[in-house]
């Protein structure tokens, strides 16, 4: 969250911090800084760019091939006459997804990450130099297909949407808790295939999500036959309205996991500064 104030020092881990005297010429410096502080700083900077232009930014995450680009194509078809949309595509290689989005008449910029299996806030900031944000209502960032690390990187976006396609199995929230805990919305995709599968149960998938103490809404949909898309479009409209009213009161929206850190931060007496000092500290 913030790099210097130690807001990741939760009530659970703080009592373990004990002071100890230096010995044998070794001085121990207490730091207590988030390893992702550089990324998080850049993400806040990105969010300030987005908020200045009043554009709601949604980070779409899933395993490879769960239907992120297909969902974007179907979404753009429905919304392009009423909203101004743009897309940032993250992939290891190829510009395929960007071409698919551009074919829908919407600006898209491709970030090819090479070997990096996730987008980070710096990559997104670089992409912003290649796109015009002014006048946009909605920016989608399609993250690299990967259920592991994209969840750890705040991009400066406002909402996390995680797709789970029915061919992946309904236990994925239990197997990838870091990702699904971060979901502001879970989409169960490719529901047109459900009749061909005997062991995917949308209620079980939802239960596995709730077991992560995440009460996010779940929408089942298919980009192929269009079922469930109305609920998804309604969610998007509601999020745009909520975001704009937050901006009116000088607030912004943060994606789920980052919000936890914020809440902790806002609670008086729960966070303390741990400045770098010469005191030896043993944890």
């Amino acid at each position: 969250m913030c790099n210097t104030c130690g807001c990741n020092i939760t009530p659970g881990n703080r009592p373990q911090v004990l002071a100890e005297k230096p010995k044998n010429g070794v001085t121990t410096i207490s730091v207590l800084q988030n390893l992702l502080s550089q990324n998080n700083q850049q993400a806040e900077h990105n969010r300030a760019h987005f908020d200045a232009q009043k554009v709601l930014v949604i980070n779409l995450m899933s395993s490879p091939g769960s239907g992120k680009t297909a969902l974007l194509e179907a979404t753009i078809k429905r919304l392009r006459d009423s909203l101004k949309i743009a897309v940032i595509e993250g992939d290891l290689e190829t510009e395929n997804d960007t071409k698919r989005i551009q074919a829908q008449g919407v600006p898209a910029y491709q970030i090819t990450t090479g070997t990096a299996c996730h987008l980070d806030a710096h990559l997104v900031h670089n992409a912003l130099h290649h796109m015009a944000l002014d006048g946009l209502d909605l920016l989608f960032i399609e993250n690299v297909g990967n259920l592991v690390c994209p969840a750890s990187f705040d991009l400066g976006h406002h909402r996390n949407v995680v797709l789970l396609s029915v061919t992946e199995g309904d236990d994925k929230p239990a197997k990838y808790p870091v990702m699904f805990r971060a979901a502001d919305l879970m989409l169960i995709s490719k529901t047109d295939l459900l009749p061909h599968l005997d062991d995917f149960s949308p209620p079980s998938a939802e239960q596995n999500l709730h077991n992560l103490a995440n009460d996010a809404q779940v929408i089942t949909l298919s980009s192929k036959n269009g079922e469930g898309l109305d609920a998804w479009i309604a969610w998007l409209h509601a999020e745009i309205d909520r975001y704009r009213s937050l901006l009116l009161s000088n607030q912004t929206q943060r994606p789920k996991v980052q919000l936890d850190g914020q809440l902790l931060h806002a609670t008086p007496g729960k966070t303390k500064f741990y400045p770098v000092s010469n005191k030896a500290v043993h944890i």
Partner: protein, 116 residues
């Protein structure tokens, strides 16, 4: 697998602290890693071994403390230690809990060999 880029950030923080304190070398680096941090300690260790070569932290020991996942129940107030994919209250089984610890990825401390 972003442990290599994480190590990059880690090392630049450590090098900056060492310079600030005129350290000759870094003795050890202590991290706190929660089970919900999304980082694999073993991969982090491998990445660190590669990246520290030729720096002030070349000889540094990397100490990784894993932090258990604990939640606070919103309904009954019980604090429970839980597994990463079942964040339920141990007392009443509610999933209306908030995370107390387990998602941190923190550079906790650095032990330095200083000139004086």
């Amino acid at each position: 697998m972003h442990e290599l880029s994480l190590c990059d950030d880690l090392l630049s923080q450590v090098v900056a602290i060492a310079a600030q304190h005129n350290a000759q070398s870094v003795e050890s680096i202590t991290l706190q890693i929660g089970a919900l941090a999304g980082v694999e300690p073993a991969l982090l260790e491998t990445a660190f071994a590669l990246i520290r070569v030729g720096t002030v932290a070349e000889q540094a020991e990397l100490i990784m403390q894993t932090v258990p996942v604990t939640v606070l129940c919103q309904l009954c107030g019980t604090q429970s230690e839980v597994v990463a994919n079942l964040l339920l209250c141990n007392a009443c089984q509610s999933h209306e809990t908030s995370l107390l610890s387990g998602d941190q990825l923190i550079l906790a401390s650095v032990a330095l060999n200083c000139a004086d």
